[in-house]
Symmetry: C2
Subunit: 735 residues, 2 copies
């Protein structure tokens, strides 16, 4: 019976990839438009691929080095060490592949979307949305394939003395693959984020402000780099990011499932089903996402309201169905307290929706916070900055409270009616993981609505540069803004799942710790003068043994360092954007000065040079923040031991999550306050208010597209590194 459940996973994975391929072919059959459109799309495609090639070259080298160092450090101390290089690199490879395929699709789709939008709005939607669906399905398809593949391989090879330990070891080893995905995602988000904002600032400042030529004008040497940035940052970066979130939530929950049902009172079959449950929910959610994607269709004379309705139909149908179907799945899997666990899944979805709605409230010009920011713009740039920062800081409260309530309920639902002593805490943590899985179960379609925004945006750029009828640009703008509305929910899911996954990963750390202890022959420990075998230690036992309580200075200091890491990371990435933008500014000024005929449009600027310079700068700048993230958990572990590491992870999670929401929402509010003014409010385009709002928007760019979203990955990456290095922490801690 269990093997039936298992095979659902690769089946869904392959189905998703098949449909992705089908949608891709469908898109490729569309016409790419006239010669100018093709040429521009070609430039952008070449630039984007050149960026990714360069990025993957550097990242591959780093992966090999980290795999070697970690294998060396972990040698003999860590159960993962023989598999570590393979799992780590495969996680990174597939995460990168998801980003690559998504971006490749996007670069083919932009001109085609513009061309389709010339015909009608709904034709534009169809091309853009189906291309976004390629990304969504590639991410979940590769994720499920990778998860089920490693599960099969490790189940075949791993041997343990105690049978109940086998699944724990398999799932813990699989977390290494999660670390690979997280590391790749961090590079993609940080590198892509720096590139896109540096190019954006460079193009705007020299082109628009100094030379006075319009946005997306082909005479601006940075304009191609700007569009490349949208692809490598918003598309490839987002793909790698959500691949990491998706796999992370499933892997963390699977590991908790193995740990929760490891005692002798549970059958081996039950333990296996608890491990498979999150994967199965993801797999079925993927099939429902494909169904939802087909529901997104509109008549040829559809208004933008109809189109929004069409998108929402797809999303809510998939979400509603997974709520119903997962109840059956959990009962068919015969998990104890199946209804309670189902409650956790539903809570997860509701929490994601709540955070999404809050994001919309705080960043949409339809509501008062963004309007207040826009109003302050009429008083000057300092006021708009103060107001945006203030509103953003306040806005972090609701998502935090949503996570607090959601986590508490998910924990309560899963752990209730399940009163077998100290194990129930693990059961509650399993519920928290399931909430994250529930939130991301329909990622196939939510990511499609998220990813189609940048495609529409790029299509608009292409229309502008190719000198198409302004009506085309207006249509792509409508598509883009529709995407923004639905994407708010996608963002809520991404943020919320990051917090829940990180919480579940904290619990997985405990299991990794026990493995690490056994590996160095700590087969039993003394607690209150009673000897307890390591494999039978409860979570509470370990907390007492390692003194992981809140008055242990090691824990407190770890929490301090964790909170600090979040700020340091943001500071480094903010400054990196500034430095890279400066290089771009110098280059654009040079081209305007040295290349004759640019302004007349007789000579083409050297687009490639701009791309190259920003690429090199982004690559260089992404290294320090990423290395800090990898080194911190190892260093704190060696100095302050297990108590310090858990403090570090908790501090980074709480501080980083709040900081991430604040930055994302401030950035969003500034962006939309500017747009609101451009619509003719508070003086409209060209007024002093508008100039102030543009300054706010520029400050917001690295907030919402570089530092903010990277924080969610940082939090999980640090936890994964700590898990992988737990053996080292147990063996070597100094104090």
């Amino acid at each position: 019976m269990s093997s039936f459940w298992f095979w659902i996973i690769p089946f869904s994975a392959l189905t998703a990839l098949l449909f992705a391929f089908f949608f891709f072919k469908q898109m490729m059959r569309e016409k790419e438009g006239n010669e100018t459109m093709k040429k521009i799309a070609h430039h952008i495609r070449v630039g984007s691929l050149a960026y990714l090639k360069q990025q993957y070259k550097i990242v591959s080298a780093i992966f090999v080095i980290i795999a070697l160092i970690f294998s060396f450090l972990a040698f003999g101390l860590n159960v993962q060490s023989p598999w570590l290089p393979l799992t780590l690199i495969s996680g990174g490879f597939f995460s990168g592949l998801a980003g690559y395929l998504g971006m490749r699709t996007a670069t083919y789709a932009s001109a085609r979307t513009a061309n389709a939008a010339m015909e009608s709005l709904d034709r534009g939607l169809k091309v853009a949305f189906r291309s976004g669906a390629v990304m969504g399905l590639v991410v979940v398809g590769l994720g499920l394939l990778n998860v089920s593949g490693w599960f099969a391989i490790l189940s075949y090879f791993v041997e343990t003395s105690l049978p109940s330990q086998k699944l724990i070891m398999v799932t813990t080893t699989m977390l290494t693959f999660g670390m690979g995905a997280s590391l790749q995602a961090l590079f993609a988000r940080v590198g892509g984020g720096i590139f896109t904002k540096a190019a954006d600032v460079g193009a705007d400042l020299v082109g628009k402000v100094e030379a006075g030529i319009p946005e997306d004008d082909p005479r601006n040497p940075a304009t191609i780099a700007d569009n490349v940035g949208d692809n490598v940052g918003d598309v490839a970066g987002m793909g790698a990011d959500l691949y990491e979130s998706y796999c992370g939530s499933i892997l963390a929950t699977a590991a908790l499932g193995a740990a929760t049902f490891a005692g002798s009172q549970f059958s081996a079959d039950l333990q296996l089903k608890a491990v498979l449950a999150p994967m199965v929910i993801g797999a079925v959610g993927t099939l429902l996402s494909i169904f939802g994607i087909f529901l997104v269709r509109a008549k040829s004379d559809a208004s933008s309201k109809d189109l929004l309705k069409a998108l929402n139909t797809g999303i809510y149908a998939s979400a509603g169905l997974i709520v119903v179907v997962s109840l059956f799945i959990l009962h068919l899997l015969e998990l104890p307290n199946a209804t309670g666990i189902w409650g956790s899944v539903v809570i997860g979805l509701l929490t994601g929706i709540a955070i999404g709605k809050a994001t919309e409230y705080y960043t949409s010009p339809l509501y008062s916070p963004t309007r207040r920011v826009a109003e302050q713009a009429s008083k000057g740039p300092a006021n708009v900055i103060i107001s945006g920062l203030g509103e953003g800081m306040i806005s972090s409260s609701f998502p935090v409270l949503a996570i607090v309530v959601g986590t508490f309920l998910a924990y309560a639902f899963a752990s209730s009616d399940f009163g077998f002593g100290s194990k129930s805490m693990t059961m509650g943590l399993y519920g928290i993981g399931m909430a994250a899985v529930g939130m991301l179960s329909t990622l196939g379609i939510t990511l499609a609505t998220d990813a189609y925004g940048p495609i529409a945006d790029n299509a608009g750029g292409n229309a502008e540069m190719s000198g198409l009828d302004p009506e085309v640009r207006r249509r792509t703008d409508t598509l883009d803004s529709l995407g923004n509305t639905t994407a708010a929910m996608g963002k809520g899911f991404a943020i919320g799942s990051a917090a829940l996954t990180a919480l579940a990963l904290l619990a997985s750390y405990i299991e990794a710790l026990k493995m690490g202890m056994q590996n160095i022959n700590m087969n039993s420990i003394l607690i209150n003068e009673i000897s307890i075998p390591t494999h039978a230690l409860t979570l509470e036992n370990l907390m007492v043994y390692y003194q992981v309580h809140l008055l242990n200075p090691k824990v407190l200091l770890g929490i301090f360092i964790g909170a600090m890491m979040a700020f340091l990371f943001c500071g480094l990435t903010m400054n990196a954007v500034g430095r890279s933008a400066s290089k771009m500014i110098v280059e654009v000024r040079r081209q305007f000065r040295e290349i004759k005929g640019i302004f007349e449009g007789t000579t083409e600027p050297d687009y490639a040079e701009c791309v190259k310079i920003t690429t090199l700068s982004a690559q260089k700048e992404m290294l320090a923040p990423a290395l800090f993230a990898v080194i911190a958990p190892v260093a704190v572990g060696i100095i302050f031991g297990v108590a310090g590491v858990l403090g570090l992870l908790t501090g980074a999670l709480a501080g980083g999550f709040t900081l991430a929401v604040f930055m994302a929402n401030s950035g969003g509010a500034w962006d939309n306050a500017k747009k609101f003014i451009e619509e003719g409010n508070f003086g409209g385009k060209g007024s002093e208010s508008h100039k102030s709002a543009v300054i706010g928007d520029t400050v917001g760019d690295p907030f919402k597209d570089t530092s903010g979203p990277s924080l969610n990955i940082l939090i999980k990456l640090m936890t994964m590194v700590a898990i992988v290095m737990s053996g080292v922490t147990v063996s070597f801690s100094l104090f």
Copy 2:
């Protein structure tokens, strides 16, 4: 013998107050200058006192309400309840009195300093510095008087069944008085901070930018309010703030001393000495501060370099002497491991100096971070904002690491050679408290160097408005900038001691908890099936009993809420500044429009109306953030119990501390980047760079003078509230 030690404390207190009175009289004997100077000083004095009168009226009402509610809530559940109204209100009263006396002195001193500066630089220094010393000595004098007074009263009245419990109960009850001081300080910092920045922004935006009249011009209706703001924010606010820090560090350490030496293996005399130790170090440090103040003297032809040397001589002599003397004190008190505890005191001082130096590095235009911010100003306002935020975020790392290393060493020094089992953790925490006491032991003189800056600043304003020779303004500016250099260290001490005190208070919470448990007749609890009497519970026992470990969701969610509180608080105060400034802008515009003859200088603007409007607005705006701080620990305690409260406090501490350092340093860097440009760099005054830097500086104002410094108080206030309400938490927690 112990009574000898006790009497040192009121003796030092009265000596300090006597010298404060002496310095005040000395300053009052100086000439106040010509009629214009007197008139302006009079306006500012009247405005400042009007503000304080209004503020204290509202705050008194709030204190009475809170004292009643808290007494009602705590009735029968809490040992402090009979004393609560008295101790709480006395803490608030003395904190307010310290602010009032310091500010009164400052408003008398400004014209006198300007007048003295007409004669020579060193005469100016003498008047300003001695006036600053009034504030320094009033704060420590009132603090020690209040501490020793309550200690005597409570020791006389409190009765307990177990003798060793008496001092625990006395010191825990005294923490209520700390809560009063913190609450008053929060109102002073937030209210004063909002006032000063709203007036500043209003005066600058309408006066300087719109009407084009220079800064500190008497024709600007907001100019008096601006100067009033400096007094109510920078002087009265700082006085209340440091009164709170000073008392808080002593009270927390005294409570830990009582708890650490409460077992039957210790003599009653030893316990008493451990309680008195922090007070005695503070008392002796105060005497040494007076000595240091007299060392600050310069020849009549002194250069600014000589003056800086004179200030440093005073500070370092006091600090050096307290290092030596405290070794003797601790040995004479015959505390176990006296040398180790002395190590903690020294570590505290060194940590304060390290943070001070780091603050200087990150905010002084002599070093690269501030210069980088200034350089970015040449690229536009958005760049200067991004750069200031980035540098500020990075700058939080060093102070956090200094606190981590300092705390760890202070803990290690105090707990080493002291191996009596689980008690040694309490001993280490006592060491952390002692480090905070060490840092603040010479507050008398460090606060003098901090407080004299605003006096010199106000003297400059008076010189400008009275149309004195520009040389006078240059001299007061020199004094001001000297003050900034020495004040960096004072700021380091204030920030560092806040973190250490909060850590020590966390430990005091545990003692309050035990009191609370006994009060509701929880006389023993079962841990691992063994019954332990409540009074004999160790810290570790309680951690196990209440499951205060890092994988308990209540703890994790508490940490989330704590981090969120810091951001919410900053957001509210940032927005409050924006709203109050808007009201000021409207009023100044109205006066320019309606009052004829303002521009010609023939009619005096209605200064009082500007002061009144800003006062009312600041009073209104300070309520919400303060109430959140009081309600959060009570609400979290009722919902998530002890585990949740400790999570909340830890999250607020780690997140709030990092955020506070970031905001203070970003603000400082923007301020000094502007000054650096004004000195003629990157285009100098009036250039585009300068305009951008002014925008950065305006954003930095609420960062460094409102939100940032209030956070340090917030952290401690929340902890104090939790301590006072621990009985309620124990009795009523829902989950």
